[in-house]
Symmetry: C2
Subunit: 296 residues, 2 copies
């Protein structure tokens, strides 16, 4: 088999049941050059140990997943959530410094859903904006980019009140682009009639902190959180979306992040191989031939 | 119990397993003044018989459900779909004429999903626009308004490539407002960061052909098509949405359309009573005190 695409990064959630050592090993063994990590397996071994393991792996670090979940009203739970996000910012900075050259210090933020018994979607969205404002000085001091991730609208009530790329960019707009950007994940935004226009806008505004690819297929799984498929197995047109991202000058790694019970039940080494193959077939052809520029 | 809100209309799908006679009877018996019908039960008895039954019921007719499903490429299947939509337009005109004073001739259009094995979402959306252009003269001649219904983005691949109210209005824009409008259904659009702005725009452009209320609750049912709840049982803020619709001068009936296995298993007379009660509690309070005007 040929080498994986040099821009492919494996998001650790794709091999969810692997511990950090296994995730790093299977990724490097497959010839993949980069990885996006999750907080839980990192904290399982401790940040310092995780950073050393990452350095030893020789992999680039692409994102840290994840912060956010700050739609709660004022009170101890909100204070705790913000403090936890500050720890996530520190983790992101440490891991980005430990990764190979070309690593990026990006913390992905999932906004959180409506608080229990609340119907105030507009208020919840305002609290996301406020929380990012509260975290912005910490992120800036640490050299970390907060990547607001719009999630598919089917998650708007219980997981993320940020539902479109346009909305994420509106929130990001009052902050510096190096400090607050957006995560562009095909699964979440492929359906949006404004998606190509908003990707272009995100590029012009220097906000594409990470590009992630994952496919959509129906019927959805009964647990709609676990319905993410290998690129090429569903209906998403990776051509138009990837070319739009590349046209902005995006030059970072591209993650594959899959949540699916069948994928998680598979052997990690098999999953990374299949990830590399699906990426090569569905995404790589659209990375070439686009005039590149460095991210503004 | 008090009388149902005079603006409430029962969409027949809410009592899916009732035949037309039963649906008309339980609706009128409950004191509800209007009904939205579905093509299948109407055609089961035949259009002429259905029209007489509707007249005899004394109910207003609010919408006919449904046309659409025209994302197919050129060929016999597309021709058949357009012909079927022309029959639906005739049915709508006949039923609106048979309903009590205040009936409205509105045919709800569900666009259809991606054709088998296609990833061309942009092309599918163009074919929706083309199909509406093809049907527009028929609708105009029949005095029928085609109501483009944006469906929740979770249905974008397999049911409706029209996913936001803004997109529906963009498609409608090239046609006369009395001929092509939009269906505003809370379940499908409540999550949209632009929803209040787009409702206002729909009003200014004279495009709100029907307003439908239905609630969203998670976890979704395993069959995500059957996850529609009585108003007030979920997280949708009917206050802000209903006030926004009323502020446009919307003066038509308001439908409750529920798809849920538990509701369908319940006795139709019980379902209509509960529909009236939930509407009175969750929606009616927001219908008052807004300066009214006739729909432009």
């Amino acid at each position: 088999m040929t080498s994986p695409d040099p821009r492919l990064s494996l998001n650790q959630a794709t091999v969810k049941h692997a511990d950090l050592a296994t995730a790093l090993r299977v990724t490097a063994d497959a010839g993949i050059e980069a990885i996006g990590l999750w907080r839980e397996p990192v904290n399982e071994v401790g940040l310092d140990v995780a950073a050393r393991m990452l350095t030893d792996s020789g992999l680039r670090f692409s994102t840290h997943c994840r912060g956010g979940f700050f739609t709660l009203p004022d009170g101890p739970a909100r204070v705790a959530a913000l403090d936890d996000n500050r720890r996530a910012i520190e983790e992101t900075a440490t891991l980005a410094a430990a990764g190979a050259t070309g690593s990026t210090a990006v913390l992905v933020l999932v906004a959180g859903g409506l608080p229990e018994a609340s119907r105030d979607l507009i208020g919840a969205r305002e609290r996301v904006r406020d929380a990012i404002g509260a975290l912005e000085p910490d992120a800036k001091a640490a050299g970390v980019t907060l990547a607001i991730e719009p999630l598919h609208p089917m998650y708007a009530s219980d997981r993320a009140v940020v539902s479109t790329l346009g909305q994420a960019l509106d929130i990001a707009a009052e902050f510096e682009p190096d400090v607050v950007g957006a995560a562009v994940d095909t699964f979440h935004i492929w359906w949006d009639p404004q998606v190509l226009e908003q990707i272009g806008r995100a590029g012009r505004e220097g906000r594409i902190a990470t590009y992630q690819v994952c496919d959509w297929k129906t019927p959805l799984e009964a647990d709609i959180l676990l319905s993410r498929h290998y690129p090429g197995e569903g209906v998403i047109d990776f051509g138009s979306l990837t070319r739009a991202v590349m046209a902005t000058g995006y030059d970072r790694d591209i993650e594959v992040e899959l949540f699916h019970a069948d994928i998680w039940a598979d052997a990690p080494s098999s999953v990374v191989r299949r990830t590399a193959e699906s990426f090569a077939a569905a995404v790589s052809p659209h990375l070439r031939g686009v005039p590149g520029s460095t991210r503004g």
